[in-house]
């Protein structure tokens, strides 16, 4: 796992604002630095909505290109993260709609191969169980979980991204962890499949 950066953010707020301002003036290198800083955040948000890593990657790619094109419309550079998060959510929603249409056209999912080794099969089942457990959470809780565990963001930064207070984020995270622990506990029944 990547080393958490809960105590010291990689980019300070002052540097962030100057990067955004430079990018707003057309500095592509500054925007590339912003991508480096916020790609994990964007992926966490998109994945929380889509539940599919590949689709989340597509949505983030498109969202960041759109952000670059419309960066001049951002009035307050300090609010870049929240502004970008909203673009990512919108893009993920577009992908979700497209995917639903494709699913309707494509039909059922391909079953696991009979040649899969038992150990790999067990890993796949474990992964599917975690996915199902995450899918059972509501989207805000899922965003909090992905932002914490994939991007290692502190509650204060998660709060700014999801529109809650840091205390509310802590409470939601604590509840989500308890729910996930219950669902994923091997002593309990198999997890119910959620609707991501």
């Amino acid at each position: 796992m990547r080393r958490p950066r809960l105590a010291e953010p990689l980019v300070s707020q002052e540097t962030l604002e100057s990067l955004v301002q430079r990018a707003q003036r057309g500095d592509a290198a500054a925007f590339a630095a912003l991508i480096g800083r916020y790609e994990r955040t964007a992926l966490a948000i998109a994945y929380a909505r889509l539940g599919d890593a590949e689709a989340a990657g597509d949505a983030v790619q498109e969202a960041l290109l759109k952000a670059w094109q419309s960066l001049r419309t951002l009035d307050e550079p300090a609010r870049f993260a929240g502004w970008l998060a909203q673009i990512v959510r919108n893009m993920a929603t577009d992908h979700q709609r497209r995917r639903q249409r494709q699913r309707a056209d494509a039909g059922s999912v391909e079953p696991a191969s009979l040649d899969t080794p038992p150990a790999e099969l067990a890993r796949q089942e474990r992964r599917a169980a975690i996915d199902a457990a995450l899918a059972a959470l509501d989207e805000v809780a899922r965003q909090i979980v992905t932002l914490r565990y994939f991007d290692n963001l502190p509650s204060r930064e998660i709060a700014a991204l999801v529109g809650l207070s840091p205390a509310a984020v802590d409470m939601r995270l604590s509840r989500a962890r308890a729910e996930l622990r219950t669902i994923l506990d091997p002593s309990t029944d198999a997890p119910a499949s959620g609707g991501w």
Partner: protein
């Protein structure tokens, strides 16, 4: 609070490892896409710059030729140079006829069938001044309809 590393529980490790495994493969895609877009934009800017630079050059060249044309004609007349040295003008016309179907035309209250023929032409005029070694070639595409009356049965 889970901001302290020493408070991590198995569920935290499980979720962290799962999400890293799922999503780490997607990292770098956005940066690569942005870089590719920047390169495309740079190529487009270069093309535009070439076009903007070449258009005035082409206009200047055309003006030079145009200015040279009356000047050389006048000099030809004044000095009485032989016919061989006079500017020559060649006109060539290519054309083809395409059947555009039959229509009915009303004349004197009666309907007559008429064949429509679409005549497409390219008229090329080549002006050459052997003294100045200047050449201007103008190509004009034209198209018009020709109507041919048909014998009604």
């Amino acid at each position: 609070m889970h901001d302290e590393l020493d408070e991590l529980e198995p569920i935290d490790h499980l979720l962290g490892a799962h999400l890293q495994e799922k999503l780490s493969g997607q990292l770098g895609r956005a940066a690569a896409a942005f870089e590719a877009q920047q390169q495309r934009a740079a190529r487009a800017r270069t093309r535009r710059a070439w076009i903007f630079a070449s258009v005035p050059a082409a206009i200047a060249a055309a003006l030079l030729i145009a200015l040279a044309m009356p000047h050389s004609t006048a000099r030809t007349g004044e000095t009485g140079v032989a016919n061989a040295a006079k500017p020559t003008i060649d006109e060539t016309t290519w054309y083809r006829d395409l059947d555009a179907g039959t229509i009915l035309v009303q004349r004197d209250g009666k309907l007559y069938p008429v064949r429509q023929i679409r005549r497409q032409m390219v008229q090329e005029t080549d002006w050459f001044d052997p003294q100045e070694k200047a050449r201007i070639r103008v190509t004009v595409p034209r198209e018009h309809m020709v109507y041919v009356g048909m014998q009604p049965y």
